[in-house]
């Protein structure tokens, strides 16, 4: 189908990946030494890809804007990582993980990619344990599991609420081993600003040394983008302050198609916004929904009294509480997928039942779990007839062992003790399913340019299930890319080093210098953050949890106008050839201002509701998402043509040979 060839191998679903690995070309170890690979981003996908490729023998250069690869934002992932190990004997299998992921993504992802992900998931756990990742264990010494949303088995491996940290430190350690061997050269405090194409192939990048301000050229035989998601287009999100779309957007501007930009995950359990000064939002892991019950007052007058500070949640009787997820979705209860939970919370708050001063919060309550665990603990500890104080104390200890760091984080931010009073939570932007379009080999529409992890679009469709982002990042980096990239690089064994004197490098560098100088020359009135916050407001209000055609059209106009104003009136102190954090931010916001418009355009063309994309015009009488498989069973892949408004839509039809398309139901 034209330019968008997904290159999915033929054959039965479960055999595609093995067959493909047997069919593709390899590079012999001696030749790998003559091949250079650039990897941009050192989160789970980038760090794992770098380690494995260096181990295979390629010369790897990694780039990250942080001062150390270990600080990439994968570090902040809390809850866990899925793997179809079936250690719990509860009926799990790669097929079931595949099915859950396809269904969770509301049938908008590619079957073959998702099956491969489920298949490789088991290897990840083996690999990480061999590396010394200290996962949570049971008393018998074997690995422990917990449940996550949208599934009926326990397949999530975890390390307290710091799973991302432990997995990233594992991948970082594997990188360090290769740095020590001289096989990886790690460039830190460097930001990629452009990809360089020589004869149509990705052959290098232009990067800026963020300490000296120097613009540098780096060449390679292939380039991998693993720079994460673009949630910060909303300004407020759970992403790190520096998380950005620049690497992904710049390759888009050089010809890589950008897929499903409007597929964004709004995570249901984040700490609510407290004021205008807020710089970021903090997630409270989905794992908390294993034990926490979500509710709002059943009576509007109680909700109002709480908002006015006249009533405490602990004083509301059980029968006056509305556990709205348990009420609406009895089968999955508090563990419905994220998109469903977020919309349900918004619905209650919009109807006037929200708590917190702002009315934009619901409760996540652990009181029942504390009592349940406390009684169990008293029993197993041989305490006879424990009083309620003892039970509460024991129960709080169990909760602390499971979620201690999350409770501490909450208390520090909100100044309330979540062991004693229910947490307040509200949905926030957390993850972006959309991203750079890639084929089955993770190659973009530019030859030699690959994209892995959250930065690509491939595996999560319109909604990602919990504990699947870590799985995808590591599967892409450890087990997929190192094989598939070899097929491409097998043509490069005689190419020799790529010179950075080529005119393509010259031209790309000149363009980047002009772009940065243009930003500096504006010398206007407003700091970069002023524009970023304005963009974020437009995105949240008009492209957020629910969208409609009228507001999306307004968003497109408003963002285009804001972008124009930005280039005329942004104010950046300092110069180009020195450390300049405001210039860094300006470059990133300039790209968000383009992406935001494409995002709205994508949401506008998708006249259906699916997963995280909820169009108000397309819903069932009960307010559930109404998909349109006849007309929208495709990936929208956008080709850059100058302004975002001129972007051209290409469609990759999704083929479902192994699952039957159904209306998602968690009731």
């Amino acid at each position: 189908m034209g330019i968008l060839d997904s290159k999915v191998p033929s054959g039965p679903l479960a055999e595609k990946w093995t067959k493909h690995k047997n069919d593709i070309n390899l590079v012999n170890p001696a030749n790998k030494r003559n091949i250079d690979v650039i990897i941009v981003g050192t989160g789970l996908a980038g760090a794992s890809a770098a380690a494995t490729m260096a181990e295979l023998g390629y010369n790897v250069k990694t780039f990250c804007y942080q001062d150390s690869p270990r600080r990439a934002h994968s570090i902040a992932a809390q809850g866990g990582i899925n793997a179809a190990k079936n250690y719990q004997g509860d009926g799990d299998s790669p097929y079931r993980l595949f099915y859950d992921t396809i269904k969770g993504g509301d049938y908008r992802s590619r079957e073959a990619n998702v099956y491969r992900l489920a298949e490789e998931s088991v290897n990840i756990i083996d690999q990480c344990v061999a590396q010394g990742v200290p996962f949570a264990r049971e008393y018998g010494g074997l690995l422990d599991n917990r449940s996550f949303g949208g599934v009926l088995v326990s397949r999530t491996f975890y390390a307290k609420g710091q799973t991302g940290q432990q997995l990233l430190l594992g991948a970082y350690a594997a990188m360090n081993r290769q740095i020590n061997r001289g096989k990886i050269k790690s460039y830190t405090r460097h930001e990629m600003l452009d990809v360089v194409l020589v004869d149509g192939k990705a052959r290098g990048i232009i990067a800026r040394d963020l300490v000296s301000g120097e613009i540098e050229r780096h060449s390679a035989h292939a380039v991998v983008i693993a720079s994460g998601g673009y949630g910060n287009v909303f300004y407020l999100s759970t992403n790190a302050m520096g998380s950005n779309v620049t690497a992904a957007w710049r390759v888009h501007k050089r010809g890589a198609f950008f897929a499903n930009p409007c597929f964004t995950q709004i995570h249901p359990t984040c700490i609510p916004v407290s004021g205008d000064h807020q710089s970021k939002l903090t997630l409270m892991s989905e794992s908390l929904r294993n034990d926490g019950r979500i509710w709002v007052p059943a009576k509007a007058e109680d909700a109002q009294a709480i908002r006015e500070g006249k009533l405490k949640p602990t004083k509301i009787a059980e029968e006056d509480r509305d556990y709205f997820l348990e009420r609406r979705y009895p089968a999955f209860g508090n563990l419905v997928p994220r998109d469903v939970a977020s919309r349900a919370a918004k619905e209650r708050c919009d109807a006037g039942f929200g708590v917190n001063k702002t009315g934009e919060a619901v409760y996540l309550d652990f009181a029942a779990a504390i009592q349940r665990y406390g009684s169990e603990k008293a029993l197993t500890s041989g305490i006879k007839n424990p009083d309620s104080e003892t039970i509460t104390k024991l129960g709080e200890e169990v909760i602390a062992a499971k979620y201690g760091n999350l409770f501490q984080m909450y208390e520090k931010i909100v100044d309330q003790n979540p062991y004693k009073t229910p947490m307040m939570i509200y949905p926030a932007v957390h993850y972006t399913m959309g991203g750079v379009w890639v084929d089955y080999n993770l190659q973009t529409t530019i030859p030699g340019l690959y994209c892995a992890g959250e930065a690509n679009f491939s595996d999560h469709g319109a909604n990602r299930l919990g504990a699947s982002a870590l799985m995808q990042g590591l599967a892409d980096g450890y087990f997929v890319l190192p094989y598939t990239i070899g097929d491409y690089l097998s043509d490069d064994i005689r190419t020799g080093p790529i010179s950075t004197d080529h005119e393509a490098f010259e031209q790309a560098e000149t363009e980047i210098r002009e772009h940065l100088q243009r930003l500096l020359n504006a010398k206007g009135k407003h700091p970069v953050d002023y524009y970023h916050k304005k963009l974020g407001k437009i995105m949240w209000n008009k492209c957020g949890m629910s969208r409609n055609a009228k507001e999306l059209k307004e968003a497109i106009e408003e963002i285009a106008a804001l972008r124009k104003d930005f280039y005329e009136n942004v104010k950046i102190p300092g110069g180009l050839n020195e450390m300049n954090p405001e210039l860094e931010k300006a470059g990133r916001v300039a790209d968000f201002l383009e992406l935001g418009e494409l995002f709205a355009k994508d949401a506008l063309q998708r006249n259906e509701s699916c997963g995280g994309h909820f169009r108000e015009e397309y819903q069932t009488p009960e307010g559930e998402a109404l998909r349109d498989d006849k007309n929208f069973k495709y990936v929208s892949a956008w080709e850059y043509k100058g302004e975002p408004k001129d972007a051209v839509l290409h469609k990759e039809e999704l083929v479902f040979e192994n699952v039957e398309l159904k209306t998602r139901s968690y009731k």
Binding site: R137, N176, N180, V211
Partner: protein
């Protein structure tokens, strides 16, 4: 809240730095410490001045980017949190707050409050890993049962975020707590035993080469560590090191 900030400003590693006074108003208790600095920086930019440079990223206490000596304490007056988790409700109207970078020979200043902590990366590169290939052909994860208490202890050591507060807190600018946490994580696991001898020797050698000071057991590092990394790790590393040296 009205505050007087005294902030260390330094153009680069070779320039001289000094404390500069910045009065600031309109600070709310719900703001984080770094959001307070954001407010200051917006004001500075609007006036056409250069904003104060400081490291920060996740703003939820896990990436280890943020640092700062706040009134002489790494990550400020509260225990078990990083600077980004410190909130302004901890301060009072009219307070003076002195903000300086983490200071150590091995952490040269890059600009203002930003320091170079890549010495930590080099210590890890010297041996902070298990030498297994990442190709996926390894034994089943449950083929290696590990006692829960040991696994938990290993996790506690592994939860170090590499922020450098231990070094900044130490009068000798020693990196023993940091290094020992990584050594301990592996020493406590069966997977880590194979290379234990080389690991501890190589990591300690690199630590010394970077110019960190010696440990004199004052315990300031443990007190200031935002992740509560225990001094027991230092004792464990010393044992590991002695055993490794004895083996030769």
């Amino acid at each position: 809240m009205k505050l007087l900030l005294k902030i260390w400003r330094q153009k680069d590693g070779s320039s001289k730095g000094k404390l500069v006074d910045y009065p600031i108003d309109g600070i709310e208790g719900d703001m984080s410490f770094l959001e307070m600095l954001d407010v200051l920086n917006q004001e500075l930019i609007e006036k056409g001045d250069e904003p104060v440079v400081f490291d920060h990223d996740c703003r939820e206490g896990i990436c280890g980017s943020c640092s700062l000596m706040i009134n002489g304490e790494p990550h400020g007056p509260d225990r078990l949190i990083t600077t980004c988790q410190l909130h302004m409700r901890r301060f009072n109207d009219g307070d003076t707050i002195v903000i300086e970078p983490f200071r150590a020979t091995a952490f040269p200043i890059i600009r203002d409050l930003m320091v170079d902590r890549t010495a930590f990366d080099r210590i890890q590169q010297a041996g902070g890993y298990i030498s297994v290939n990442t190709s996926g052909n390894t034994v089943d994860a449950n083929a290696i049962p590990i006692e829960k208490a040991k696994a938990d202890e290993s996790f506690e050591a592994a939860s170090c975020i590499g922020c450098g507060a231990c070094v900044a807190a130490c009068k000798n600018a020693s990196a023993m707590l940091f290094t020992s946490a990584k050594v301990s994580q592996f020493a406590l696991l069966p997977q880590g035993k194979v290379e234990a001898t080389d690991r501890v020797q190589n990591m300690v050698r690199q630590m010394d080469l970077e110019g960190f000071g010696n440990c004199t057991n004052t315990g300031a590092c443990e007190v200031e560590c935002p992740k509560g990394i225990s001094l027991e790790n230092i004792a464990r590393m010393n044992r590991e090191y002695l055993m490794a040296t004895a083996k030769g």
